[in-house]
Symmetry: C2
Subunit: 161 residues, 2 copies
């Protein structure tokens, strides 16, 4: 009788602990799945290194010359060096990324931070080496399209300067 009671107690402890763990796990999964904007299509062109995704939220057109897109970079993924004739604004929505302008040091960008990239300045951006990065890129198209330049080398990507 006593053994049966002990077994029942141990069983209940187990159920309670497991239930608690499952509940937390479900909440974590929900957070991960609750992206504000869908990550869109995987980018398959030579202007990006590594795995990145693009959701074109707004196309520039005759109504409005501004384009806005959500870009998701897996860890290590980045753009080539490039420039925008009318500049670009980057809003960091999630994770940790890198940003660098030609001739300057690499900057770490975190969720909630904003970068204003001047017109015609070569730069690159992407995820940090170990954390994915989601950004909204806002680009004026009134002065022309993005100009793509050379690849970001691993040395440039990994520099700690």
């Amino acid at each position: 009788m006593m053994n049966l009671k002990n077994i029942a107690i141990i069983y209940l402890f187990g159920v309670l602990a497991f239930s608690c763990k499952q509940q937390n796990k479900a909440e974590s999964s929900k957070e991960e799945g609750e992206l504000i904007f869908a990550r869109g299509e995987m980018i398959n062109n030579e202007n990006f290194t590594g795995t990145a995704w693009l959701n074109n939220l707004v196309q520039a057109d005759s109504v409005n010359q501004i384009a806005a897109g959500s870009v998701t970079f897996e860890p290590g993924a980045r753009t080539k060096w490039h420039l925008h004739p009318a500049g670009q604004i980057i809003l960091a929505l999630e994770g940790v990324g890198y940003y660098q302008e030609k001739g300057k040091g690499k900057v770490i960008i975190k969720k909630g931070e904003v970068v204003k990239c001047p017109a015609d300045i070569p730069h690159w951006h992407g995820a940090s080496a170990d954390t994915a990065f989601i950004q909204i890129a806002i680009t004026g198209r009134e002065k022309g399209e993005t100009v793509w330049l050379e690849r970001v080398t691993d040395d440039e990507y990994n520099s700690i300067k």
Copy 2:
């Protein structure tokens, strides 16, 4: 001896259950507090009705003619009717809002949705009646500043057309 053991078991059950509850509560609070962009300053001007907050993320200047700001509307809060000489893009980050262009029906905007407001078209936006709304507003300034018009009446705000 047996009583002591039972008391200990009941106590341990209580600790485990309480710990589980606290953990979930902490995660929920963290979610609520984890805004991507700080809500900024409360808006104290006659162009808004109700309680709204503005975080000017990017100012338009000679480097870049695009302004971007995060606006948080408490339920019921909204702008006056207004127009933008170069149009506006609204990215819905959180909650449920309303958007209406002059002469058209009121549209419900939800987290993850995007509105492209044409140049010179009078419109208003704000939170829905019972849910707060957070938006990023992206506004080209190259053709001039926002023109503010009349207040949105309660009839307009509550219309279900």
